[in-house]
């Protein structure tokens, strides 16, 4: 075997080291990564929807703060935002979540993702034809009802693919929780892999973590795409 290939195999694909790492990665890392991904995604979606409606508001007083929020949280490096929220709150004496690292991390990552999701939702909501809103209003639906029953379902459905992309970024973004400090049992997939890489002086644990990330993100993408297709095929839906 050429020496270069052998080195790649030794450094990134040592089967023994990967095998050992998988155990902890799955038992400890996977549940933590999933927990944080779900929490952060939920916060991100709520914040995102809320801010998206604000971005479309006719009044500048509402639009301006939402715009600023999106600009700042999308523009700042994520590491800095996570420190500012996750360490800034307790330093300011606002230990709202006690010592719960995951709560601070979920809030920080959720707020960041909310800014990205706001723009995705806005694009979707604005893509719903004006005529449909007018039709709903003519039928006697209130503005709020029109938004909830007409605009929202269609708008969200149209942005499912970019939203899936954003969820993938959330899953990978959860690795930044390490910035806030983790106990052994709190470590998520990437932290475990990094610790393992340092201690084994070999990068194969990171490859093992990469495989787990793929095992999460690839099926999710296919599932969402299938769901998307089935909704498009449903009677009465847009084609």
């Amino acid at each position: 075997m050429p020496i270069g290939l052998q080195r790649i195999l030794d450094t990134f694909f040592d089967p023994q080291i990967m095998g050992q790492a998988f155990g902890t990665l799955i038992v400890t890392g996977l549940p933590n990564t999933l927990l944080l991904s779900i929490l952060a995604s939920l916060i991100g979606m709520v914040v995102g929807l809320f801010v998206a409606t604000g971005l479309m508001a006719p009044r500048r007083l509402i639009r301006f703060p939402c715009r600023t929020y999106v600009d700042i949280l999308r523009g700042l490096p994520h590491v800095l935002t996570i420190y500012l929220i996750g360490q800034g709150l307790p330093l300011a004496g606002l230990s709202i979540f006690g010592r719960d690292t995951y709560a601070y991390a979920a809030l920080a990552i959720g707020l960041i993702e909310g800014a990205y999701m706001a723009e995705i939702f806005r694009a979707g909501l604005q893509s719903v034809e004006r005529g449909q809103v007018e039709a709903a209003r003519t039928l006697g639906m209130s503005g709020a009802k029109t938004f909830v029953y007409i605009v929202l379902p269609q708008g969200i459905r149209r942005v499912l693919p970019p939203l899936t992309g954003q969820f993938i970024l959330v899953i990978k973004g959860t690795s930044l929780v390490f910035l806030l400090g983790l106990t052994t049992s709190q470590r998520e997939i990437f932290s475990i892999a990094q610790d393992w890489a340092i201690n084994s002086a070999n990068l194969s644990p990171l490859t093992a973590a990469g495989i787990l990330y793929l095992a999460l993100t690839v099926p999710m993408t296919y599932a969402v795409n299938a769901w998307d297709r089935s909704m498009r095929a449903a009677p009465g839906s847009q084609r």
Partner: protein, 275 residues
């Protein structure tokens, strides 16, 4: 409080280098095989003051300056490349760097990957805590949550001394310090020099006794025993001619003394002058 002013730092660095140059024998190792021919390519880290860090855009710190002195001994230009802890040993193994100016602790796992030179330090550590909730001995950390920099060889040490301790790993000492000040952790376990600096800077902090963590040495690829030998020879010389002692006194506060084990390892190594 900075340890030394910048100008003085530069002057001292220059004089160290000048002395090293005068005493060196560059011709001896001129044909030594290195990663980039004619130079010594050395990994360093940017965030471990005063051991290996970046200041005014230049790599510096006592292990970095020691590596520079070794380069002079070998008659090679030293090029420093910043890298992180987890990729450093694999990179040395794969001959991307000749060695690492990191203060790497020697562990069996790391020894399986690379060779190590003779010791360039014995890691020592202290437990820092808030005066209002003091932990006065490392042994008393049991049942408490203690911040340690991730991947550090101090983690197994702390687990051994205080088995019930909860270790919380942080990416760097700044994040650990914030967590300690904000009451998110009870203590912070770190190297002697860093611990003393933190206690000096933050009036509300105190430190425990010092405990010895292990041998720090330069890693070298197993494929290059000639380089290992050359580094060992250079280290031995720099220990005995006082270069190491000088760098130590320059970079460490007076309270941090050269471990006795170092004098035992290198007989004839001069003690710092009493001030």
């Amino acid at each position: 409080m900075p340890i030394v002013s910048t100008r003085r730092t530069t002057l001292a660095a220059l004089s160290c280098l000048a002395l090293a140059a005068l005493s060196g024998s560059p011709a001896a190792a001129a044909d030594l095989k290195t990663v980039v021919s004619g130079q010594l390519t050395v990994a360093y880290r940017t965030d471990d003051k005063p051991v290996s860090f970046i200041e005014n855009g230049k790599p510096t710190g006592y292990i970095v300056e020691f590596a520079q002195a070794i380069g002079k001994e070998l008659g090679k230009e030293v090029e420093f490349v910043s890298t992180n802890f987890e990729s450093m040993v694999p990179a040395v193994k794969n001959e991307q760097y000749d060695t690492a100016a990191f203060g790497v602790l020697v562990t069996p796992e790391r020894e399986a990957m690379v060779d190590f030179t003779t010791p360039v330090g014995y890691g020592e550590a202290r437990l820092v805590s808030r005066k209002e909730a003091p932990i006065d001995k490392v042994q008393a950390a049991g049942g408490k949550t203690v911040a340690v920099t991730r991947g550090s060889a101090l983690i197994p040490l702390l687990n051994k001394i205080a088995p019930d301790v909860t270790v919380r790993e942080f990416p760097n000492v700044a994040a650990s310090l914030n967590a300690l000040l904000a009451g998110q952790v009870d203590g912070l376990f770190t190297g002697l020099a860093t611990a003393d600096r933190l206690v000096q800077q933050q009036a509300e902090l105190m430190a425990s006794q010092a405990v010895t963590s292990g041998i720090a040495a330069f890693p070298v690829a197993k494929t290059n025993p000639e380089l290992l030998k050359a580094l060992d020879d250079a280290i031995d010389k720099l220990m005995k001619d006082g270069t190491y002692t000088r760098l130590w006194t320059k970079w460490n506060p007076p309270s941090v003394e050269i471990p006795e084990d170092m004098y035992a390892e290198y007989p004839g190594m001069p003690h710092p002058e009493q001030k």
